[in-house]
Every structure is written in C-alpha cells, then in structure tokens.
C-alpha cells in the first residue's frame, strides 16, 4: 500500500526545492540508515510502510527498538549496530512517522458521523469497525494515518491523488460481459476484481477481449458541492477521530 498523502508531500517538496535538513538526531539516523528502503517519510518501498499507526512487528516501543537492533530474521530487514541512545532516537522518529497527533478541528464529530451514515451514504462502500461495504478501503484507523487536509481532499475530490495500491480495472470478456471494479490481485495470467456490489470476479486474461488498468482513477463519487462548509468540517472531524483501538 502506498499512501497518497506522501505522493503530495513529494510534489510539494519539488515545488519548494527544499534541501532535506534533518530536524533531529533520530531523523538524520533514519535518513542515512533506513530511508533507502522505507522511504523518506516512511511510505515504504523495498521495506515495509512505517507511516502507519500500528506496526505488525512492533506493538510497543521496546519491541520496536528490538526490531531495529536485530532486524527481522528471514527478511530483508537488516540488524544495525546503533547504540542505545541512537536506537531510542530513531525509534521515536519511526513512531512519529505513523502516528499523527489529533489536531484541534472546528467540526463536531458526532454530527459528522450522522452525515457519514445518512446524507453521505459512505457506509455503502466503506467499513468502520466491521460495519459497511468493502468496495473502498476500511476507514477504521484512517484518522491516525492521514492528515485532516488529506481527509478533506479525499471527500471533495477523490480523483486528485489516489493511493498507489488502488487500481481500477475495466474488463470485457470474450462472451461480452463487462466488469468494472477495484483490483484485488493480478498476475501475468489472471486478474481478480471487486465490483461495486462487493462481488469478486476471477478472470483469466486469455478469456478477455479487453482489459484496462487505470491508476490514479477513483470510482468514489466526488462530494464537491454536496456538503455545506460546516457539514464538511463535521465529517472531517469524525474521520480524523477514527483511530481504531490505538
């Protein structure tokens, strides 16, 4: 999964042409020892995405330090020779990549939840804590990993910056059936697609007459103009507060 917020950070960085100056010892260690695999902002690449609220191998800070010191046996995650202080600094930096503090927001999250369930019709496509549709991503922890500005943009202009892992497939079978939906998986010979109803279609490429994979295209309807300014504030306050069990 690639986080779209980081794509925009990159674009902003290009525009501003700012040289990367580390603001802490932890960041400078991170940049020299980790960022090649994990990305400057923890967005992942060869290594796992670290800009997420919960880390699979590091439920707490002690585990995080251990993972960084020892590496993860059986994977490309190497051990390091960092000293205790350095370990502490770099692990603090790693935590800061994925856990955004909840900023004070103008809206009312309670009203936001109402809008999410009613006027927005969001639950048709999204799941929160096990309830809702599966066409779009699960939003249970979205507030911990995404900024308020990102959440606002997601709703108003979904197509602006779609996460890298999300690819829309349009396929036509040789029998003439048309299937459009989100790519669940794909290999050289087959593709699995989830349509808007949530049904998964298994397709052999040899049995298709047409197939288009569209990156950067979102099937989520744009809500520009649908909500009033204060409704949008409420919705964003609700989404930003979604932090799962963290």
């Amino acid at each position: 999964m690639y986080l779209r917020v980081l794509g925009s950070v990159w674009l902003t960085a290009i525009a501003a042409a700012q040289p990367p100056a580390a603001t802490s010892a932890g960041e400078s260690l991170y940049l020299s020892q980790c960022s090649f695999c994990h990305g400057k902002d923890g967005e992942g690449g060869r290594g796992a995405t670290l800009a997420r609220p919960a880390l699979r191998h590091a439920p707490d800070d002690a585990a995080l330090r251990l993972v960084i010191r020892r590496g993860i046996a059986g994977t490309a995650m190497p051990g390091t020779s960092l000293g205790e202080d350095e370990l502490e600094q770099v692990s603090n930096h790693v935590r800061s990549l994925g856990r955004r503090p909840l900023p004070p927001l103008p809206g009312d999250p309670k009203r936001g939840e109402q809008i999410y369930r009613t006027k927005g019709g969001c639950a048709r496509c999204h799941t929160i804590s096990g309830r809702g549709g599966s066409f779009g991503p699960d939003l249970t922890e979205v507030g911990a990993a995404r900024s308020a500005a990102y959440l606002r943009a997601s709703v108003v202009e979904p197509g602006a910056d779609v996460p890298r892992g999300f690819v829309q497939i349009r396929a036509v079978t040789k029998k003439g059936d048309r299937i459009t939906g989100a790519r669940v998986n794909e290999d050289t010979f087959s593709v699995q697609v989830r349509d808007a109803s949530g049904a998964v279609h298994s397709l052999w490429k040899a049995e298709l007459s047409e197939m288009h994979a569209e990156l950067g295209k979102s099937p989520m309807p744009p809500y520009r103009g649908v909500f009033s300014g204060s409704e949008l504030d409420d919705l964003v306050a609700y989404l930003a507060g979604l932090r799962g069990t963290l």
């Binding site: 090649f36 690449g45 590496g71 051990g79």
Partner: protein, 524 residues
C-alpha cells in the same frame, strides 16, 4: 528395486568431480555441474526430451521444502544421482534426485546481526573432486565432504562485522575455488579471491579497487578507494584456453554520493579479466565510470565464439543492469557494440569506445531525481541464457524507475553507506518482460510480458523451449524461437531463482526454487 539401490550406491561411490569433468561439461548434458551449467556461463540445457510438442504435459514430480523464510535463490547442482542445494542463510542439503529425499544436511550457525543489504540469501554450491564448497553469509568459505556433508575446512574470507558478506556460489577451477564478496552498501573494499581446494589456503586476492601505486588508484579522490565497494557478488565465467576468469564488479561506495569519491572509480561497475593462476588483472572494461545510481555490473559474462563482421572472434555478451546489452572481445576487452534493451535515462548515449555519456539529471538531489532503471536494474543477478541453436540471448528485464533524494552519509564500519533515500514512482506501474535478443546485435527478436518486474533467471533448452518464472509464482515455458506461450503452473510462491534442467532415469527434468520449495517437473 535392486537397480534403484545400485544407482544410489553408485552415486555415493562416485562423488567425484575431477576438474576434467567440469572442463568437459558438454559431454554430460544430463548433469548440471557448475553455477551456470558450463564455464562459458550459457545457462543452457542441451536436452531436448521436453520440447514444444510435449511441454504442455509437464507435471510436478517432487517438491522439497526448506525451513527458512528468506528468498530461496539456490541454483542446484545435479550429478551422479544427487542434487546439491543451498537453503538460506547458508545451509547445504544433498537430495536423492529420484525421490527428493535428503541424504545429508550441513547447517551453519550464523552470528546475530550480520549486516546485509538485501537478505541473508545464498545462490548455490560448487563441486570439485570429493568436496562441495559453499560461501556463507558471515563471509566464510566452507569445504564439505561430498558424501556426508561433514566440514573438511572452514576459512574466514573477510570480517562480516565491517559489512562483508557472501551470497554467490563459488566457482571451482583446476585446484582452486574462486569466490566473490558482497557488502558495497556498507562501504567495504571489493575483491576476488582464490583458495586452494585441498587446504583452504588463499592462493591470491585481486583487489577491485587499486591501492596506492597501482594503476587506477588515481581514479579515486583521496583515500576513498579504501571503502570504495566494487564487490564481486555474482559467480563469473571462465575461459580455460585463455586461462582468464571473467567477473562483474559492483557499485562504488557510497552508492549515490559521488562527491566523496571523485574520478572514474576503477574497477567498480566493470567486468574484469583476471589470470586464474595469479589473480593478475589482464584487462578491464568499465560500463559506468563514476556511478551514482547503484548500477552494479554483477551480471553474468556469457562467453561465445562466433563470427563477428566476417571474422571468428572470442566474444563476451553482457546484459548489464544499466539497461545496455554489450558485446566485447574477451581476449582484450575491446568494445564492439552496445544497445539498450530496456528503458533508461541515465546515459545520453554510448560513445564509440564504449564510454557512456552521463545524464546529470539522474544524479540524486534534494528534490528527487527520476532514474530509469531503478537501483534494482534492468537486469540483475538472475541468469540470462544463451542458445547457439537459436542465435538468441534471453534475459529477464525489469521495467521500473525510481526517485532518488540525496541524503547525508558518513562511513562507519558495518553501517549503511548509501547517500540517498528512494521513492517508487507513484503514477506508474512497473512491469517485466522476458526478452529474446539477437546475440550479436542486441536487436529484439520477441518479448513476453509479465505483470511484475521479475527476479527469476531464464533457461533455454535444445528442445527449443525457454523457462522462466514470475513474482506471482507462475513458472512458464515459451517457444524459444517465436516466444509463443506453451505452458504454465502456479507454484504459489515468489520465484527468486534460476531454473535448471537435468536427466534422471532417462527422463529430462526442470528444477526451480519457488517460495520455500524446490520443485522438480517432468513428463510421466
């Protein structure tokens, strides 16, 4: 039953691999005796029992599962009824080739915290006389008794604590074991070593970055040659007549920051021709002088004798990580031709002497430099294949770019020494392709596209087939002449290895490591 017993007995008594057998590998088409199948590194099987007519009926014969979780990159050796594989990090297993049942294991205890850039992997063993040789992740060379797996000798090649490691299969030549080293991401100084096969005593060392007073030392500013990389982590090839070893060398260190190592940085990103008796450099050809994009030339030099513009010539074919396909004269390193086989933007061209014209926009910078191919390269360690029959050179190609931001780096022993952070290109899906190139011109004959940039080698056979695999687990066979798709099977794991072929009990087999399984295919 009786004949089976005798066959196995025979294999134990026969665990003998004199140099002459390696030299005449062509006389044993049913075996796979060295990393690349022969000293010329063709990675080609002369067997044709599996061919275009029957490939569609290939079936699994047996599987062997390893315990590790690292990428299973082994290239099996097969001879005298036994298959020798390595499982990560540095273990060796001998398997009964009829049944897939283990005959012995060598298990190595690896110290905590061996620093490696890219996984604790191993790509296979070498055989000579009655011994099996393995390079270990903690940078030792170990000789095992071929009959039992017991250690005969174990020597430290380099100190892993400073960032050295070993992942490649050794190469056995007359009386000597040739080994390469890894660790350029940690600022080690690269070398190529030869060890006496009987005693483990070091016979020679060729330093890949020349020291003071040696030719080429002035291609490094200050003392940057001391931690200049130029590692040798993929098994090379050998021309017994010229008595030259050919070996690719890796990136200069730090990978992405050229300001601390001004100059061409010899012999990084090169192919070197080294005298097999003395370790003396005969010639070198540098593909990428002063590299700042991690363009390791750790690919396999393929040796071919062919007519070049009307004259028979001893050639070397080299599909480089930098996206160019090269033809060189292997007697003297003369550049003959180069042609891109994948998307690239790091060079504006190659001049008539083979030197690239660099594109400064691809140097990592504060705002992100877009580079094709990315640091995993258009090609990498996985083997290409050469079919004389088809006149084609087959290579798996990675079509993927990356964005590189400069970061500060400072050399400290055993720590990453890179000088960049990397980001994937958010708007682009990378892909892969198996490409068949005219061996002498590099012109594209055909390609077979795959979903994800591959990490699997290619095997061409005299049955006019090519075999390869994908990151999603498909092993497939194509018509070697036309590229037409013939057969596939979903193996259920990523394929990070090179398929090989051998004959057992009169039948041809294909073997490949996938996920954590070694899988053997054949016809019923």
């Amino acid at each position: 039953m009786k004949s089976f017993f005798l066959a196995l007995m025979g294999s134990f008594a026969l665990a003998q691999m004199p140099y002459e057998r390696l030299l005449d590998a062509a006389k044993e088409p049913g075996n796979w005796l060295t990393y690349s199948g022969n000293y010329q590194a063709h990675h080609y099987s002369p067997l044709d029992l599996i061919n275009r007519e029957n490939a569609g009926r290939l079936k699994v014969q047996w599987m062997y599962q390893i315990r590790g979780r690292q990428h299973f990159e082994t290239m099996p050796l097969v001879f005298d009824g036994v298959m020798y594989i390595t499982d990560p990090p540095s273990d060796v297993t001998a398997l009964d080739v009829r049944t897939g049942r283990p005959l012995w294991h060598y298990r190595r205890t690896i110290p905590q915290g061996v620093p490696v850039c890219c996984g604790q992997v191993n790509r296979g063993v070498a055989a000579l006389d009655d011994q099996i040789f393995v390079n270990t992740i903690d940078a030792h060379l170990v000789a095992l008794d071929a009959r039992t797996g017991r250690v005969r000798w174990d020597v430290e090649v380099a100190d892993y604590k400073t960032g050295y490691s070993m992942t490649a299969a050794p190469l056995a030549i007359k009386g000597k074991i040739i080994v390469g080293i890894a660790g350029a991401e940690y600022g080690v100084r690269g070398f190529l070593d030869a060890y006496d096969a009987k005693t483990g005593k070091r016979a020679w060392r060729f330093w890949a970055t020349p020291g003071p007073g040696e030719p080429g030392n002035d291609s490094w500013s200050g003392d940057s040659w001391k931690r200049g990389g130029g590692t040798t982590w993929v098994t090379g090839s050998y021309d017994p007549e010229l008595n030259l070893l050919y070996w690719g060398t890796g990136n200069p260190a730090p990978d992405y920051d050229g300001t601390v190592r001004l100059g061409d940085n010899l012999y990084s990103d090169s192919v070197v021709a080294v005298n097999a008796d003395t370790g003396k450099l005969q010639w070198h050809f540098q593909f990428v002088p002063h590299d700042v994009n991690d363009m390791d030339s750790n690919q396999i030099p393929v040796l071919v004798d062919a007519e070049w513009r009307g004259k028979p010539r001893k050639l070397m074919l080299f599909a480089n990580r930098n996206a160019f396909y090269y033809v060189l004269d292997r007697t003297n390193g003369e550049f003959l031709t180069a042609k891109p086989f994948a998307r690239q933007n790091w060079a504006k061209g190659i001049d008539p002497r083979g030197r690239p014209i660099p594109n400064p926009a691809t140097e990592p910078n504060a705002t992100g430099a877009l580079v094709y191919p990315d640091d995993d390269g258009a090609a990498n360690w996985f083997s290409p294949s050469y079919s004389k029959r088809a006149g084609l050179f087959y290579v798996n190609v990675r079509e993927k770019g990356g964005i590189y931001f400069s970061t500060k780096t400072q050399y400290q022993p055993g720590r990453m020494y890179l000088g960049a952070s990397k980001r994937d290109i958010p708007t682009e899906e990378p892909y892969g392709a198996l490409r068949a190139l005219n061996a002498l011109t590099g012109d594209l004959a055909w390609e077979f596209r795959v979903k994800t940039p591959p990490w699997c080698g290619v095997l061409a056979t005299a049955g006019d087939l090519v075999f390869s695999g994908t990151m999603e687990g498909d092993l497939f066979a194509l018509d070697a002449v036309t590229g037409k798709f013939l057969w596939r099977i979903q193996t259920g794991g990523e394929i990070w290895s090179n398929p090989i072929s051998y004959r057992s009990e009169g039948k041809q087999h294909i073997a490949v490591a996938s996920g954590s399984s070694l899988i053997v295919f054949g016809l019923d």
